[in-house]
Every structure is written in C-alpha cells, then in structure tokens.
Symmetry: C2
Subunit: 285 residues, 2 copies
C-alpha cells in the first residue's frame, strides 16, 4: 500500500472560495491503472479535520465535471466539508469495445467490480470507491472520519449502492436522478450484462431498489429527480421503483420531483447546496 | 433589422435556480455570421422587467464557459438580474490564419471593430456587443433598460473599453483580471496589430488604461485580480497601469488583489457573487 500511496501526485491546484480545489492522480491497486480524483479542501481544513462527502459522477464524465460545473465549492466552504470526486472508470486501457459506447466501458464503470473477462482485470470501481479511495483520503487529507456520499445519474446509482452495500460506512447519503433500478433499465442491463455476466441473480448486489428492500441499517436517503428529465420518461432511472421499495420496507427515503428540471448540471447546481447542507447536518451531528 | 430578429432561434434551455438558462443563435448584422449567446432569466423575469448584466468572456471561450463554470445563476436568481453572455468572435468563417492561434482570430475577437482586411469583414465585436446585442435583447427579453457589463481577461478588457467608449450606457461596470493596457501587452499588441493595423495611434480607442485617463463620465469600476495569476507576472494584464491612470485622473476605480487566486474560473466563481451584488446595487438604485 505504501508504494501505491507514494504514487499520489498533484495534477493541479487552484484557490477557490478561500479553500483549495485540487486534482490528484495515483496508481490504483483496484483498477491497475492510474486514477484521478478531485479534492476540494474548504478553508476550515487549514486548521482542523473535516467531514468528507464523496461525489460519484455520471456517464461520460471524468473527475472534472463536478469540479467545474456544480458550483459545490461555495457551499462546501460555508459548511466546512471536504469534497472528493473520482473519475468514472479506469483509463488508459484499450479493451475490445471499451471506447465504442458512451454508456459502457470508459466513462461508464457503473461502480461495480466486474466479474467477466476482460473487464474484471480493471473495472473494479466498487472496490476503488468504497475501500481504496477512502483509505487514500484518510492517509493524505485532513478528514475526521465522518463521511457521506452522493452522485448524479450513474453516480447516483453508485452512491446509493455503495452506501447500501456498506451499512454504517456513510453517515449521509443522497443522489440526483439516480439509475435507481439498473436491473430494470436499458443502461443498467447493458452494463451489468457485460461486467457481471448473463446470470441476472448476480446483478441484484448492485441494484439500489433491490438492496434497499433488504436493508436493515435504515440510513435516511435524499433523492432529487428533475420532473422534465428525458431519461425519466425513457425508463432509465425508475425512481418510482425505489420509492415503492422504500414504502414496502418502511425505509426513510425522501424523493423529491423538481418541476421543470432536466437531467443536466443546471439541475445539479440548483440543488447541490441543499444536498450539501443535508449532508453537513448529519455529518456534524 | 426585423429580418435579422426573425433569425433568432433557441438552441437550448434548462431550468436553473428557479429561472431559465437559455442559449440563442441569430444571424448577426455586425459580423455577417451566426452568433450565439447565453441568457439567464431569473425567476423574477417571469413577472417583471429586470436589469441585465452583460458578461464578456476571455480567450478561447465560447458563450458556454461562463454559463457552465461561473456559478453565476444562483446569485442572479437571488438578485433578480438577467445575464447575457455572447460568444467571443465570429464563427464559421475560414480566414487565413484565423484558427491557427489560441490568442488571435476565432475565440479571440478582442471586442474591437477590425479595420484591416480580411478581419474587417467579420470581426466587428465592438459593434456587436455595444449596439446589436443590446437592441436584440431589448426587443426579445424582459429587460427594464438598466444594464451593466463585466467580463474576464480579454472579456474584462472588453467590458472596460465598451463601458468607457459609451459613457452612460452601462450603470455598472466591473472586470476580472482584465487585459487592462492591451497596447502594452503581447496579447493586445498581436491582436491590435492584425485587427487595427500598424498605426498604433488607432489602438488607443480600445485600451482601457488610456480611455480611463481621458474619461469625463466617471462611472465607478470594480476590478478583481488574482495575485497568483501567471499572466499578471507575464505582463499581459497590467492592472498597475489602470490603477496609475485612475490615480492620475481621480477616477473611482476599486482594484483588489485577491491573494492566492490564479487566472481561471475558480477565481471567477469565487467572486462573481460579490460582483453581481455590486452590479445589482447600482442597477437597482
């Protein structure tokens, strides 16, 4: 591990809202590739350990989209939150078909540990996000041990399943327009078929609405969904299945439909302040 | 004019902070090309006419950079400001050398009316920004006649010279890291040489520090400059010449050096809220 940690290098840094927006790169043990992630250190992190919120991004994104488009730093600076935003897949490999689709392969790791060749050698984003990255962050940044997780679309799916698969690991959980039932959506079925194979019983371990139905650790979850989101209409997101599962299981889910909002970053930026305030409340209680 | 107005078409629209972020395209009379611009309509614009702040972007930018990276909509929604952000040059032409440099030609119109062939046929961004665009905005959006102007880097130069060349037209003026003395900087000398020709006496009409020295309409100006901006060190920006001219002419310039900030959008996003509040104060008084 120490060798890997030694590979951690600063790619860029800029002052932002009195704190620092950084991008880091390291050699990932999980993916066997270089991985990049963004870190926002609020002004408070200069003098004290702070809670951290992980942000998982959506299809086609890198670690850069959330950093540059969400406007999250302002709120993190006010609330004293560290933000960590990893890339969405391994990079630098050239597996057959890896770069052919925008909804599969590079930019589309789906936060699973692939079990099928050739993906299983590198596409281990579940381990990366839930274990390797938090260990790296703990070792190198002024975090206080309290952590939350959020994300958008594929990353909303990632946030929900990562939290539900690791009960108690995240003190706060939220999502924007998550792929809430990937075993039932075209995006999820395509990705899971390649990464996890044809046996659909293996898919349930990464489906938020199925995991939530079985959850015994009932961590409150906040989900915002744009009501004018075209992917909602296309049955890619299926928040209604998450809601039904929550109702059935008496799970504390708050699902809000935001009238007029679509799937893009203007939607995320409009509500990221409320999400971070909600994370801060639970991370600081 | 009516024919041109009829060419106005909506490229995209998304709900954002309760208002609407739009991108428009039209056939520009000034440039003889299609031009795009972003418009943010705050929630207040649904029911009343609002003041407008024009934003001019920097080298390499399109109308999209400010829209997606500055996080300005949150403040505009709070303050009831319409934001209008045009592209930085004509597009769709293929003049000799037009696309060879990042600091000249496409993406680098410098907000001048070129007098030299072949640029003079299309590179008429001064007329576009000061006359055509405001007329178009007045005809098609709920503006109340009060307007301000701001911008970043090349666009900071654009904001300052546009305001100084049209005394009284803008009730509020500010800039981020402007090219404050382009007749003295490598970027400005290159661009002005091509657009305005070798006779340097023609350049003064587009140099903020020279225009400010002669100004009789003493509109207060707010300028923020990152103290860790590498282009400051490279003598591309020269705010010290603007400051000296203001001191000499007893001009109300507020120039603030922000410690640790560089030239990028994290700098802009960190202070755009203060700038828009400052614009709103003057536009609503």
């Amino acid at each position: 591990m120490s060798e890997l940690h030694e590979s951690l290098s600063l790619v860029s840094e800029a002052r932002c809202f009195g704190g620092r927006q950084q991008t880091w790169q390291h050699a990932s043990e999980s993916t066997g590739t270089p991985m990049k992630f963004g870190v926002y250190l609020p002004p408070q992190a200069e003098t004290q350990a702070c809670p951290v919120v992980y942000w998982l991004s959506g299809l086609t994104c890198t670690e850069d989209n959330f950093i540059t488009k969400a406007g999250a730093q302002r709120y993190a600076a006010e609330l004293g939150l560290i933000l960590v935003a990893p890339d969405t897949s391994p990079r630098g490999t050239d597996l057959p078909g890896e770069h052919d689709s925008w909804d599969f392969g590079s930019g589309a790791g789906f936060y699973v540990d692939a079990t099928q060749a050739p993906w299983s050698a590198h596409y281990r984003m579940a381990s990366y996000v839930s274990r390797e990255l938090p260990a790296l962050v703990k070792a190198h940044f002024p975090v206080n041990g309290r952590q939350g997780i959020s994300g958008h679309s594929m990353g909303g799916h990632g946030a929900l399943v990562t939290a539900l698969r690791h009960p108690g690991q995240y003190a706060s959980v939220s999502a924007f327009a998550p792929i809430a039932a990937p075993t039932r959506s075209p995006w999820g079925q395509k990705a899971f078929g390649h990464y996890l194979g044809p046996d659909q019983s293996q898919w349930a371990a990464y489906d938020a609405h199925l995991l939530l139905a079985q959850a015994t650790h009932k961590q409150p979850i906040l989900v915002d969904q744009g009501a004018a989101d075209s992917f909602l209409e296309q049955q890619q997101l299926l928040p209604e299945l998450l809601e039904a599962a929550a109702r059935e299981a008496d799970y504390p889910l708050t699902l809000r439909y935001q009238p007029g909002y679509d799937h893009g970053y203007f939607f995320v930026s409009s509500f990221i302040g409320e999400h971070l305030a909600w994370h801060a409340q639970q991370l600081q209680s």
